[in-house]
């Protein structure tokens, strides 16, 4: 499968709906469609291609299949994340977006997207641990992404203040409504009849979570009722949130309606089908958005896109998103909201209004085009890539057919662009040769012939190596995801050999531990070999100076070579788990 178009990078848009994040899914779709509309070479990366927009090329993402059953390794290796990166690389994607999982690497450019910094603004809704986790995740995303995209200037400001070191990567592209590409039907669904709604009503579309602040709406209705004005409000949205275990947001809203005696005016529909939601937006006389915080609100954007009037809480992002709103009110000020409603309600025209909708949709289509161009420009700005050093991995093997495939896949699965992989088999009598043959098209060299032991096999392999950085990986160990990219990053420093941490595990799955060797200490290395071989990488120049492994030694040849290397080169510990080391009886 190839999507390569001459002169145009292939942009992989990740379907964020895969993780059950509906709003994220809408952002993905609008991003892909906007880029497609301005002629970019786009492919939609999704686990559910049947739900993708028909005009887009799609790549089906699937769960990784190698290393099944080894839960300890899944736990350590960020397994789920790599599935998107693997799918993207297989499709030949040059750049991936919107990245929310820090998938960026020297060989796969990513444009990161942070929807908002809610945890900074609504600190009371997050635990200390959740806040720390989000800060760490966002920092990692910023560090790994070529560019960082934000949906509003407000969100960009938060980012720059929080991560000033990555400020230059930031740009703002406010996403359009999906209606720009999938316009609502001209014939409006009879939603009033279906749900027994009044002729004129205000609309609140939000999931019932605390920060959405529904409560202020019935409070405002109560104030209006006391003044003699009865205004109906329809509330649609999932009446639950996994973060709100006791359903406090819904409870507060119901109680506010009861206290204010405005029950007959409150139509709480809960979650409704998409076509009903669209029809509600087309029918409501205005949308109210009372949220305490937003990054860039999809409901407001949808309302704008079809010409529905708006009232919104007084947030910087709301003023940025809909400067033409009927009014802004402090999020917890029911009286201010009541004033706006009282002022506007009598003159708000009945809807649907097809003429106004057509004009608004045309404006939204232009907005979407501008958005597509803006994202495209950002991709071009982030195009500069660090060239990857060539890494040679040599795998010596002898009768390890049971494990060899995992080892090979762990190297090839690194998706490292500048890899040279050599397998030297010592004439195995099991199925090793057949396993190697399955992957020979991805190997720089392989041979299966008798040798005098592992050190000779390794020297044979390294004599063919042309890489800038060398290492070996035994046929029962394996590299963990991201290892080779981290190696490339580490060797930007003036160092000759790096060694890192290693996940040691027993073959039967009964024991696993992360082996963390100490910082380099020449005296200690002279006494014991603390360097973990499968997590060790060195420059070719060091190998050329030390000479090959001592073939007279069969068990301690790695330590002997490390000691020779230590006399010549600069050794350094890298605090990264590069590999997994298997204990077994074979």
């Amino acid at each position: 499968m190839s999507f390569v178009a001459k002169g145009k990078p292939l942009i992989g848009v990740v379907d964020l709906a895969m993780s059950g994040w509906a709003a994220g899914g809408i952002v993905s779709r609008t991003m892909a469609l906007s880029l497609h509309a301005v002629g970019a070479n786009v492919v939609f990366l999704t686990a559910h291609p049947e739900t993708a927009p028909g005009c887009l090329k799609t790549v089906k993402l699937s769960e990784p299949t190698y290393l099944p059953g080894e839960w300890t390794l899944r736990k350590w290796s960020g397994w789920k994340k790599s599935m998107t990166a693997v799918g993207a690389r297989r499709a030949g994607v040059d750049v991936i977006l919107p990245d929310v999982e820090a998938l960026g690497s020297p060989s796969l450019r990513a444009v990161g997207w942070i929807p908002d910094f809610q945890h900074l603004h609504l600190s009371d809704l997050f635990s200390k641990e959740q806040k720390a986790l989000l800060n760490r995740a966002f920092k990692k995303l910023a560090a790994r992404s070529a560019r960082m995209l934000f949906s509003s200037q407000d969100c960009r400001r938060d980012y720059v203040e929080t991560f000033p070191a990555f400020a230059e990567k930031a740009s703002v592209a406010s996403f359009p409504s999906l209606f720009a590409f999938e316009p609502p039907p001209e014939v409006v669904v009879a939603v009033r009849e279906k749900h027994h709604l009044p002729e004129r009503f205000l609309l609140v579309i939000n999931q019932f979570w605390r920060h959405k602040n529904h409560r202020v709406v019935p409070e405002a209705l109560a104030i209006l009722k006391a003044r003699g004005l009865e205004v109906p409000v329809v509330m649609a949205g999932l009446p639950a949130d996994h973060r709100d275990r006791h359903n406090e947001a819904l409870t507060e809203t119901l109680q506010a309606a009861t206290r204010g005696n405005v029950w007959p005016q409150c139509f709480i529909l809960g979650k409704v089908p998409r076509e009903d939601l669209v029809a509600l937006l087309q029918t409501a006389v205005a949308v109210v958005q009372p949220s305490r915080f937003e990054g860039w609100n999809t409901t407001l954007q949808d309302a704008k896109a079809i010409g529905c009037p708006l009232m919104a809480s007084d947030l910087a992002v709301h003023r940025e998103q809909c400067p033409q709103a009927l009014g802004f009110f402090p999020p917890d000020d029911a009286a201010a909201l009541a004033d706006i409603i009282a002022h506007c309600w009598p003159s708000l025209p009945a809807r649907p209004d097809p003429t106004r909708q057509r004009a608004a949709l045309a404006a939204e289509a232009e907005f979407a085009q501008a958005y597509g161009r803006q994202v495209g420009n950002d991709l071009r700005r982030g195009r500069s890539m660090t060239s990857l050093p060539k890494i040679t991995v040599v795998t010596p093997s002898y009768n390890q057919g049971a494990f060899l495939e995992q080892t090979i896949l762990s190297v090839l699965g690194q998706l490292y662009d500048n890899l040279e992989y050599i397998v030297i088999d010592g004439g195995s009598t099991d199925d090793s040769a057949a396993v190697i043959q399955r992957y020979e098209s991805s190997l720089a060299y392989w041979v299966s012939e008798k040798d005098r032991g592992q050190s000779e096999a390794l020297n044979k392999g390294f004599s063919r190596a042309t890489g800038d950085i060398l290492c070996w990986l035994n046929s029962d160990d394996f590299l963990l995801p991201g290892a080779l990219h981290e190696v490339a990053r580490q060797f930007r420093e003036p160092v000759d050999l790096i060694y890192g941490n290693c996940l040691s595990f027993s073959d039967k799955g009964t024991r696993s531990i992360v082996n963390r060797p100490p910082q380099h200490d020449r005296d200690l290395l002279a006494l014991v070999d603390y360097i973990v071989q499968p997590s060790t990488f060195w420059r070719r120049s060091l190998w050329e100076k030390t000479g090959p492994l001592n073939e007279a030694i069969h068990y301690a040849f790695d330590w002997e070579w490390f000691l020779r290397a230590d006399r010549i080169g600069v050794l350094r510990k890298a605090d990264f788990i590069f590999s997994a080391y298997r204990f077994h009886d074979a």
Partner: protein
């Protein structure tokens, strides 16, 4: 296959040889002593492990006290280094 837990005596001999060639006199002497007194050192490690399992804070000192032959080491030998050598030998 080269695994650090495999090789037994042959591996131990290679380690001592490498220690003599590259590690210098001090390393070589530690390994020679460790191999010569390997049973006693293993007994010490087992005791230490047992004391630790019983929650005794000073399990290392207790194990040392319970192994009189290790009370006095030849000049120039360090007990901690000996323990590291034993761990490396994996005999």
């Amino acid at each position: 296959m080269h695994k650090s837990s495999h090789g037994g005596q042959k591996r131990a001999q290679e380690i001592v040889a490498v220690a003599k060639t590259h590690g210098g006199e001090v390393a070589a002497r530690h390994y020679e002593f460790a191999i010569e007194h390997i049973e006693m050192l293993k007994k010490y490690e087992n005791l230490a492990l047992r004391f630790k399992g019983r929650g005794l804070a000073s399990y290392l000192q207790l194990a040392r006290w319970a192994t009189p032959a290790l009370w006095k080491l030849p000049p120039g030998l360090d007990f901690e280094k000996l323990r590291q050598c034993v761990n490396m030998l994996k005999l």
